[in-house]
């Protein structure tokens, strides 16, 4: 056989790679969010689905257009833009006008992500940064409808603001909250709020799927939710620490944020030690904002603030060097210090 006819490549080892690429990972996260989306459609009507699709398509379109304009490769099919779009829709109320959604999509994809170099280079979570930006339309962003309401797809929305659990918690009104929403309602998701954050149960299901598929690890979600749980249990507002703690954990965007936003690869540390520090930091800031802030929810800003610390966390965590005994390491550092 004549081997000269083959088109052979010469390149560095390794010569095999796992099938799991960036697109697979983003796709799995989108799949993990589908149960929560299904519940949102049930809870808020088809508008929840339309919002999500509009936002996903919007993000993909901005990603494609920006890169086509600058003659860069098309990265729509790594699905990271689609995931960002899905998360943006998830952190907005169902009544959000479509144009605000698209403005958020633009901010997330073009300003936060592409201007910093595209996938992997942004230092803020694009979806949360977009949410922070969209809060410029404070009224639209905090118009909540009651659970199990069908919202019209178009036209003006009755500006009836229905109190979310976070509003009660912010007023330290645990009793009012307990009368409005029972704990099982909180768990399953028959509550008011952003479309993707209401069903804690289905979000946890999705998160468990991601942990099972080794897309994410338990470190950030457990340390984040754990910190919030411990703090709210130790410093309850009211005389029932356990109930106060449970409402704080299940209410607002904590579960969605801890499982799907704080675990974003690009904007979280790379080591497990870093993950735990990051999670604890998110938890501390979340509780701080919820307790002392003017705004009732702290998850979004907590994660954004911790995003800014990732660089310093990563820089200061060094794995134990192979072949260097752990006991010897400490005195050496001391000697250096002297």
């Amino acid at each position: 056989m004549n081997y000269k006819e083959l088109n052979l490549i010469g390149s560095s080892s390794p010569h095999i790679r796992t099938k799991v690429g960036a697109g697979h990972i983003m796709g799995e996260v989108i799949i993990a969010l589908l149960p929560a989306l299904g519940f949102a459609i049930y809870n808020f009507g088809p508008r929840a689905l339309v919002n999500t699709l509009v936002s996903m398509l919007g993000c993909c379109a901005f990603e494609w257009a920006y890169r086509a304009l600058l003659k860069k490769s098309n990265t729509v099919f790594d699905f990271s833009a689609a995931l960002t779009g899905m998360l943006i829709a998830f952190v907005c109320p169902v009544t959000i006008p479509y144009w605000i959604l698209l403005a958020g999509d633009f901010f997330a994809i073009v300003i936060v992500k592409q201007l910093f170099g595209g996938v992997g280079k942004n230092f803020l979570n694009p979806a949360l940064a977009a949410r922070a930006f969209m809060l410029s339309w404070a009224g639209e962003m905090s118009t909540w409808v009651a659970p199990r309401t069908q919202t019209a797809l178009f036209g003006a929305v009755d500006a009836v603001t229905y109190p979310t659990p976070m509003a009660y918690l912010h007023e330290n009104n645990l009793e009012g909250l307990m009368n409005t929403y029972s704990l099982p309602d909180m768990l399953v998701g028959f509550i008011g709020g952003s479309i993707g954050e209401v069903s804690a149960l289905l979000l946890i299901l999705g998160g468990a799927w991601l942990i099972f598929r080794r897309i994410i690890t338990w470190h950030i979600p457990v340390s984040y939710i754990g910190t919030v749980a411990v703090l709210t249990f130790l410093f309850p507002r009211g005389n029932d620490p356990l109930t106060w703690m449970l409402y704080n954990v299940l209410g607002g965007g904590l579960i969605l944020g801890a499982l799907f936003m704080a675990t974003d690869y690009v904007t979280s540390p790379v080591s497990h030690t870093g993950h735990v520090i990051f999670g604890i930091g998110c938890g501390l800031i979340t509780v701080f904002i919820r307790y002392f802030g003017g705004y009732s929810e702290g998850v979004c800003y907590a994660i954004l603030m911790m995003n800014l610390t990732v660089w310093i966390i990563d820089k200061n965590i060094h794995p134990h060097r192979f072949g260097v005994p752990k006991a010897q390491k400490a005195p050496k550092k001391e000697a250096e210090g002297k």
Partner: protein
């Protein structure tokens, strides 16, 4: 069953293609090319001339330094050329080309009279003269390993883990020649004065482990079989020492530093054959496999066989083959010339025609940290890559890039498809170049100073 080392990966091992196929003897090649560099260390000096007749096992290259090992003719015939020829590392290497006369006339072998009662020095000498090197792929001269480990080693490990995918040569060898391996382990036990020698086998080779256990029991051999979890790079020397003893080899050191010595199964058997039969290393088993190979097989073939003979004996390769590798898929060398010969450490020849590499036009890091969680050397490839791309050599060195064993786990797992190993090889090279340049500059400055001082003295005088 333990997996004591951190990280690692578990690719589909594809061993089923060849692990049940008995080794076939390759039809004798018309010509073999014996490179003078079949080991790590100083290349050999050819000791035959064009036109000489050589016999199987006759030395054709002499070791020129301590860290070196002689090379031997693997067929009998006439020396056709002594010239640089293509080597599986990709560059031409001084080689002895022998035209096969197909008689396989053996060279005079004089096995030691009393192989059971040799001193360590004598064993080292025999091992050196037999050209024995680490036949798992690293090809470190075995006599150096033995002499540098004597007196320090308390754990002797025979490496049959064969963690590279596709490769089944160690596995087949164990099944087909267990007596040679056990014989070699007895020698090692005596040599290092240990009660028992460990043989490390991954659990995907359970039949070999069972067979060995039965044999060891009936022979009362000083051997213990350690079954390890199938996990790449279980067979890497440092990781294997860690799996068996829990000890970690210090940076820049050899396993002897922690009392370990690791020998490949072929190497172990070669020591036995050299001591008891006077045979040098002339043949080995090579697995020919991969999606591009028409019929994957294991071959017993002379060292120096051109890899195209091996591929031809498997019915050739498919038209769509885009890569041919000597070695395993994780650490092997891609080949461009099929005249490259089989070396002492060549355990496989692979041809790929499907999209095994999964390269993408624009690799991008998504900071997932998977590379950190698989690195068996506790490195952070994600940051090393950034430092390398930015040319930050000081940071690269501070973050221990020189500890990298180039196992490829990080590049294998990378969803952004970065060329991590390639970048780290380049980074290491740049650091070493910079060090060499700094050393040369310092020497030059010292010389100048000396000259100036001498001139001053002269002037005074």
């Amino acid at each position: 069953m333990a997996q004591a080392f951190f990280g690692g990966i578990h690719p589909n091992d594809h061993k089923a293609a060849t692990n049940k196929k008995p080794t076939e003897t390759l039809p004798p090649p018309a010509q073999v090319v014996i490179p003078m560099s079949l080991h790590i260390g100083a290349p050999c000096t050819p000791c035959v001339a064009v036109g000489d007749h050589v016999r199987v096992g006759q030395p054709v290259g002499e070791a020129s330094a301590f860290v070196s090992a002689p090379v031997h003719a693997s067929v009998s015939g006439t020396v056709k050329a002594v010239e640089p020829r293509i080597h599986f590392s990709g560059v031409p290497v001084m080689s002895v080309v022998i035209e096969n006369d197909f008689n396989d006339t053996p060279y005079d072998r004089t096995p030691p009279r009393d192989p059971d009662h040799l001193t360590a020095e004598q064993i080292c000498e025999i091992v050196k003269n037999a050209g024995i090197v680490g036949m798992g792929g690293a090809t470190f001269p075995t006599h150096v390993k033995i002499s540098s480990g004597l007196g320090k080693v308390d754990t002797v490990i025979v490496n049959a883990s064969e963690c590279e995918a596709y490769i089944t040569s160690d596995h087949r060898f164990l099944l087909e020649h267990p007596d040679d391996v056990i014989g070699g382990m007895k020698v090692l036990a005596r040599l290092f004065g240990v009660d028992r020698v460990h043989i490390a086998i991954e659990d995907n080779k359970a039949n070999a482990a069972e067979m060995l256990k039965l044999k060891i029991e009936s022979e009362r051999a000083p051997v213990v079989v350690d079954i390890l979890r199938t996990r790449y790079p279980q067979g890497a020397e440092k990781q294997l020492c860690q799996s068996i003893t829990g000890r970690q080899v210090p940076p820049g050191a050899l396993p002897a530093a922690i009392g370990c010595a690791v020998f490949n199964v072929f190497t172990t058997a070669a020591i036995y054959r050299a001591l008891y039969y006077g045979e040098p290393v002339t043949h080995r088993i090579v697995t020919v496999s991969g999606s591009g190979v028409v019929e994957p097989k294991n071959f017993y073939c002379p060292i120096g066989t051109p890899i195209q003979d091996l591929l031809d004996a498997c019915g050739g390769v498919k038209k769509s083959t885009f890569k041919i590798i000597v070695g395993g898929p994780m650490m092997g060398h891609a080949q461009h010339d099929m005249a490259a010969p089989v070396g002492k450490g060549t355990n496989g020849v692979l041809a790929f025609c499907e999209n095994e590499e999964r390269n993408i036009p624009e690799p991008a890091c998504i900071r997932c940290g998977k590379c950190v969680s698989v690195c068996p050397m506790h490195l952070q490839p994600v940051f090393l890559y950034q430092y390398e791309q930015a040319g930050m050599l000081a940071e690269l060195e501070q973050n221990n890039i020189l500890d990298c064993i180039e196992c490829g786990s990080c590049a294998y797992i990378c969803p952004g498809r970065l060329h991590l190993v390639q970048a780290f090889r380049a980074g290491k090279q740049r650091i070493n170049n910079a060090k060499a340049a700094a050393k040369a500059a310092a020497e030059k400055a010292a010389k100048k100073e000396q000259e100036a001082a001498a001139a001053k003295k002269e002037g005074k005088a």
